[in-house]
Amino acid sequence: MRKYLAFFRLRFTMGLQYRTAAIAGMTTQFAWGFMQIMIYKAFYETQPDAFPMTFSATTSYIWLQQAFLALFDAWMMETEIFDSILNGNIAYELCRPIRIYNMWFSRSLANRISRAALRCLPILLIAVFLPYPYGISAPVSVIHFMLFSMTLVLGLLVTVAFCMLIYGLTFLTISPQGLRIMFTSMVELFAGAVIPLPFFPEKVQKIMEILPFAAMQNVALRIYSGSMSATEMEKAVLLQVIWLIILTSGGSLLCRYAEKKITVQGG
């Protein structure tokens, strides 16, 4: 365990030193958040009762999403991992007394958390002080807030486990570009990163909610704003746990298989 913590610690401290990236990221996320809220405002003004979530629930969803973007964004994968497979530096990682899967998992986790740690506070702070209904409202209840924190962590783990699958598949192909583009667009759409899942037609939504993508950011963000019923929440948390188990075991099997088949590229 200490080995993995060490990886986590180093990746975390490394992430903290990129200050300019953090400021640039924050600015983008503010701009993006405001833009989305403007668009939704225009829609809500035309016909407020046609929407599955209240306007203030939607704005909370958007601000939380922007604040914790680094935790869930699928395109934010570890380029160093891809590079090590592509240029053969993986040779060194295979010389360590440590499982490749676990090592990369703790690394990606640390990277995401360090990015989010730098960015989330300013965004949350400003969003809290924005006038109702444009900012983040308080959570519906203490229980909702606790559930929100728990599902946030679960969602993060599911996201990382999903990315691990892509790293594993990269072992088996020459270039990860195609896989990356396909999977990131899928995640963006199906996880509720473009528009929240309740905004999809009911039949489509039913299928989407079973998929692993819905176990990422969707659950936490919707629980916070109270747009899930008790039974829905139960089901969502259960699905998160199930997907986490499936994705991690699938990913670590894939990694073990790839380790045996590996050829180190570039001599």
Binding site: R2, K3, L5, A6, F7, L10, T13, M14, Q17, N87, G88, N89, A91, Y92, L94, C95, R96, P97, I98, R99, E259, K260, I262, T263, V264, G267
Partner: protein, 262 residues
């Protein structure tokens, strides 16, 4: 003790002719060629030996190192390093060996070198005292005092290579594999690295296997050389045996390559 018996390893390499037409054709039908990187390689190396593993480019040197360090799985044959089969028992195996790949980097690019060392301390679970002693010794021998606090990206190649070698030895491995450790180094760094490897062998009885194209490395370090070419072992003997009189070592080796037509 390290033994390799009848080890074979082949790679599948996609081949096509130059040009757009050939590329289109290869899109539908790909031609592969099987390259035998190692065919029927056998040797034994005893504890505390320093062996130079030489041969022209593409002879199979790096493949051998990678098999011995548990990264690659051979197609056939048996490999035993201190009683372990490297590729089957990878995690246990690698905690007892140190590897340097001269053309790659194991240091974390954006953080000070000492951070990479501390990560290695935790990965190899090195006890605090041993870690402290090893870092002190390596710093002293390789002259790292000024380097440890700078990020790896701001070191020169020679400085970085000294840190890389230190990083590979921080867990006091009994066996050290060096794959072209002096590639691209200036004379001063080369000599420093050679001296250091020699000292490690004398002080700790570390078994060293070294691949290089720099014959001065071999001359300075190893009494025994193994020559490989086209995946086969062509010669296994001492440096004196192949050297004729006072001939220059580079010429001797070039002559050797020519006589084996590799």
């Amino acid at each position: 003790m390290i033994t390799m018996e009848n080890v074979c390893k082949s790679y599948k390499v996609a081949k096509r002719n130059a040009g757009f037409k050939a590329a289109c054709k290869a899109f539908f039908h790909r031609e592969y060629e099987i390259i035998n990187a190692l065919s029927d390689v056998s040797f034994t190396i005893n504890d505390g030996e320093m062996v130079g593993y030489i041969g022209p480019n593409g002879a199979g040197k790096s493949s051998t190192i990678k098999i011995l360090s548990g990264i690659l799985t051979p197609d056939s044959g048996t490999v035993l390093v201190d009683g372990r089969i490297p590729y089957q028992d990878r995690i246990n195996h690698v905690s007892n060996i140190g590897v340097v790949f001269g053309q790659r980097s194991q240091l974390w690019w954006d953080v000070p070198v000492i951070d990479s060392f501390e990560l290695l301390r935790d990965i190899y679970s090195i006890p605090g005292n041993l870690y402290k002693n090893n870092v002190e010794e390596l710093t002293e021998l390789l002259g790292l005092q000024e380097l440890l606090r700078s990020p790896a990206r701001q070191l020169s190649l020679g400085q970085r290579m000294r840190c890389e070698i230190a990083a590979s030895l921080i867990h006091s491995p009994k066996i050290l594999f060096l794959d072209e450790p002096t590639i691209g180094l200036d004379a001063v760094s080369k000599i420093a690295v050679r001296e250091f490897i020699k000292k490690q062998n004398e002080l700790h009885g570390t078994t060293v296997i070294l691949t290089t194209h720099d014959m001065q490395d071999i001359e300075a370090l190893s009494k025994r050389i193994i020559l490989v070419g086209k995946g086969k072992i062509l010669l296994d003997g001492s440096l004196e045996e192949i050297k004729k009189g006072n001939a220059n070592i580079d010429e001797t080796v070039a002559e050797l390559y020519r006589s084996f037509e590799i």
